[in-house]
């Protein structure tokens, strides 16, 4: 019954175009990604560009009108995103809607949606000076400032970001993904317009489609996108340089539970090499798979210290993080318990069965990703900076090649770098 996908590979006016086309999907989604090296003085302007592009087009110049058009096209969406992928800034515009086959009277809506996507990127409504309109700009600028400030609301995510900033201080990766509040506030329509034009001309461009569609139709609808730049801008990330002594950062706020994030350097180069695969399996064994990992079984279940305690591997930066929420008085105990588990892996003190469970869990992920369009897209996009690109099936095979010895070596290369803690405390005076 299973039907592994084929990754379509082609181009649109010379721009890289990948896709997964299967009729079992009820939707079609196309994203145009722009990748640029993170640069402090440019991050904010670039991050604001897609927000302005998704607001309106010259043909549909009003925001509410755009909402009505998309709503009438079966609730389709035009979405902006700005983020970070290793040391690269990733800015994107996505159009997503029901596939033509699924509309009530088989109306063809995909062509109109792709046209909106193309026009959003190339043909936004501009004022008489050729810049983004002041009103649009102010609206999106305010919203982005609020969005950046809101990062503070989620203390788990906030703690993770603060750890990454502390650990990678001085590296492009430490820069906030949309710039700082002050940097966004200092923008003008002219600056953002300049960033838009520069992005079209110099960024690395990747177009990705997933769903029930046809590459030729998409190519035809998006024809013209590649007329401005070559889409071949520079790309790459550098792994984190390990510290000699552990950096400890503790901050206080009005929280009841303490959040601890530990950052480790993994000593592996980015990519799809054997060392990365071993690091991935090691991280899963330690705290990656939800219920069979060491951290779940020992730190949560046996010691009853945490509700959440897990690890993540950031391949592009050679970083592994461990996150947990604990009572403040148990912080030290939790840190020791986490390090203790890592130490047992370094000593090779794990069973063949545990190793097999970790691999089975990764295998399950590789196979499950086949069923989810968004998951497949992420799977491939996350490899865009590597020298080679793998299918989920190839990834699965590589996981099974990893030996116990390689896992032990991967654990031995891991080095604690930074410990960030957020806890309740004396930052505010009592009334």
């Amino acid at each position: 019954m299973s039907m592994p996908h084929t990754l379509y590979r082609g181009d649109i006016d010379g721009l890289s175009f990948r896709g997964i086309f299967q009729s079992r999907f009820k939707t079609l989604r196309t994203t145009v990604y722009f990748l640029m090296p993170m640069e402090k003085e440019k991050t904010a302007a670039r991050a604001l560009v897609p927000c302005l592009l998704c607001r309106a087009t010259r043909r549909i110049p009003d925001y509410t009108e755009m909402g009505k058009v998309l709503s009438g096209l079966y609730g389709a969406s035009l979405q902006a995103d700005s983020g970070k992928m290793g040391d690269m800034q990733l800015v994107s515009v996505t159009v997503s809607g029901l596939s033509d086959r699924c509309t009530l009277n088989h109306e063809k809506i995909s062509h109109e949606l792709l046209t909106i996507l193309k026009e959003a990127i190339l043909d936004p409504p501009l004022d008489e000076t050729g810049c983004f309109r002041q009103e649009d700009f102010l609206q999106e600028q305010r919203q982005m400032i609020e969005q950046v400030k809101a990062d503070y609301n989620d203390k788990r995510l906030w703690s993770l970001r603060r750890m990454q900033q502390s650990m990678c201080e001085g590296e492009p990766y430490a820069l906030p993904r949309c710039g700082t509040e002050e940097e966004i506030a200092a923008l003008t329509p002219e600056k953002v317009t300049k960033a838009w034009k520069e992005m079209l001309q110099t960024a690395r461009v990747e177009i990705f489609s997933v769903g029930d569609g046809n590459p030729d139709d998409i190519r035809q609808a998006l024809h013209g996108l590649g007329m401005i730049g070559t889409g071949k801008g520079p790309m790459g990330s550098r792994i984190h340089t390990p510290r000699d002594t552990v950096r400890r950062v503790t901050e206080t706020d009005q929280v009841t539970q303490a959040k601890m994030v530990m950052g480790f350097s993994t000593g592996t180069p980015a990519g799809n090499g054997a060392e990365n695969e071993a690091a991935k399996v090691m991280c899963t064994l330690l705290g990656g798979s939800a219920s069979q990992s060491r951290l779940f079984r020992f730190v949560r279940e046996k010691m009853s210290l945490c509700y959440y305690c897990f690890s993540r591997f950031q391949n592009l930066k050679g970083i592994m993080t461990v996150e947990c929420g604990v009572e403040p008085e148990n912080l030290k105990k939790a840190e020791e318990a986490i390090l203790q588990q890592l130490q047992t892996l370094q000593q090779g003190d794990f069973t063949e069965e545990e190793l097999r469970f970790a691999k089975l869990s990764l295998q399950n992920m590789c196979r499950t990703v086949e069923d989810y369009g968004g998951g497949l897209e992420n799977f491939y996009m996350s490899q865009i900076q590597y020298d080679t690109m793998r299918t989920p099936r190839q990834e699965e095979q590589a996981i099974w090649q990893v030996t116990a010895e390689q896992v032990q070596q991967a654990a031995q290369r891991v080095k604690l770098d930074t410990v960030y803690t957020l806890m309740g405390g004396e930052t505010h005076e009592e009334n």
Binding site: M1, R24, K26, G75, R142, D151, N153, A290, N364, D371
Partner: protein
């Protein structure tokens, strides 16, 4: 003995079908095969959630009241058995397992890409075999205690429960699903067994399996693991909830960057009353008309800088004996945002729903619902939730298509009533201020 009955539910127009099975054991089983899928997603749910705190079994004389958070505690503990935990059994197949407790249900699930039969057997087996001891129950207090603490720091969670606390005087929906540190301290193995034997009866449960699966496989496992049991009913006891809301405004200060608001509009419901398919379909379209980014309300709020796109939204919140509509987001001026929303509702009532807007909203809602069929996970969880509240997925799509302007107008007049609102706000701390 009852025989197993199998019905096929299909909608050829969208190319979708599933099996609705009444298994001889009393268990309701829904199997939704998806062509071309590699993964299998299964959920076993029982109609037992955080609101079921006072109840009477048909074979008992008196009612019983249990500590808040016990349904959730039971969910955590059910994974354990005398010879190890269910997670370890799933690990052998590579399946990813989990569970969740809501206001009115508890669900256990796994997702796998092979050995579906073995995984189903594990699921059916562990859910039907409770094992609680003083020691294992005690151990969980630390873990769940940290889960409760985590939610205490979550402003969205506080926003909602502050709102529910102001909206309801007695309904247990106002209490945190996980209970409190104090309430969970009262939980014992005896109490867990009592709740288990009351609510984990196959007649009160549903199994759904979606994705890469054959109906024969599911039936074979059910035949082996689900034995016909006596149908036992349970009477849930809810105190009569007075009309109106308890308070119109509730606030708290937390470390957030700008104020968060949630405006709830309460709909009166009887103690066990549940909303129906048509009302829910009409409500989804109504909320699209009222607050989607194509609406005049959204335009006004955005133009005046009262909301932002990434956080503003409207949703339906309903279950056994409770129903409301919630508008939420970040706002520099929550009171003004709330008053604009209430004003927009009043204007819509007065001017009526525009034909063109109605058609557009209906298309948008239809499109998004059909898009949901991409996901085996979404289908399996959706089927469980709908079945436990007495609804059916495809009938919901039919109801959407059949909906008239008049249906939506009626929904507006019936469900969004004046003076039924509660505004909940989380304020940021001023420098030098401690909550």
């Amino acid at each position: 003995m009852r025989k197993t009955e199998i019905l096929t539910v299909e909608r050829p127009a969208i190319g979708e079908a599933y099996y609705d099975i009444r298994h001889r054991s009393g268990l309701r089983v829904l199997v939704y095969p998806k062509e071309g899928f590699q993964s299998t997603y299964a959920v076993m749910g029982t109609r037992y959630g955080s609101i079921d705190q006072t109840f009477q079994r048909s074979d008992e004389e008196t009612t019983c009241t249990v500590p808040a958070g016990i349904a959730h505690y039971l969910e955590h503990k059910l994974f354990e058995s005398e010879d190890g935990d269910a997670f370890a059994r799933f690990a052998k197949t590579g399946a990813s397992a989990n569970a969740y407790t809501s206001f009115d249900s508890t669900c256990y699930l796994f997702s796998c890409t092979g050995q579906a039969e073995e995984n189903l057997a594990i699921l059916l087996d562990f859910v039907q075999h409770p094992y609680f001891t003083d020691q294992t129950v005690q151990k969980e207090q630390g873990i769940i205690g940290q889960e409760i603490r985590m939610y205490e720091d979550d402003p969205q969670w506080r926003l909602l429960f502050n709102l529910l606390g102001a909206m309801y005087r007695y309904h247990p929906v106002k209490e945190d699903i996980a209970g409190s540190i104090d309430s969970i301290a009262q939980i014992t193995p005896d109490l867990l067994y009592r709740c288990y034997h009351t609510f984990y009866n196959l007649h009160n449960m549903v199994l759904t399996v979606a994705g890469n699966i054959r109906v024969e496989t599911v039936l074979a496992v059910c035949d082996q693991y689900c034995q016909p049991g006596e149908e036992q009913s349970v009477h849930r006891v809810f105190r009569e909830e007075p009309a109106g809301v308890s308070r119109h405004f509730v606030e708290q200060t937390l470390p957030v960057s700008m104020p968060l608001f949630e405006l709830g509009i309460k709909q009166e419901m009887g103690p066990m009353e549940e909303s129906d398919t048509k009302t829910e379909a009409a409500m989804e379209v109504l909320l699209e008309i009222l607050s989607s980014d194509a609406s005049p309300l959204f335009r006004k709020l955005l133009d005046e800088g009262l909301i932002n796109e990434s956080t503003f939204g409207a949703e339906r919140f309903e279950g056994s004996g409770y129903a409301s509509v919630l508008f939420s987001g970040e706002s520099r001026d929550p009171k003004r945002a709330a008053s604009e929303i209430l004003q927009a509702i009043a204007v819509l009532k007065e001017k009526g729903i525009d034909e063109e807007e109605f058609r557009r909203a209906k298309k948008a809602v239809y499109g998004r619902n059909i898009s949901g069929l991409n996901s085996a996970e979404g289908i399996a969880n959706g089927l469980v939730a709908m079945t436990l509240s007495g609804r059916e997925l495809f009938s919901y799509f039919d109801a959407l298509v059949a909906l008239t302007q008049e249906d939506v107008t009626q929904c507006l007049r019936r469900c969004l009533i004046k003076n039924q609102e509660v505004l909940s706000v989380i304020w940021p701390q001023e420098p030098g201020q401690e909550q």
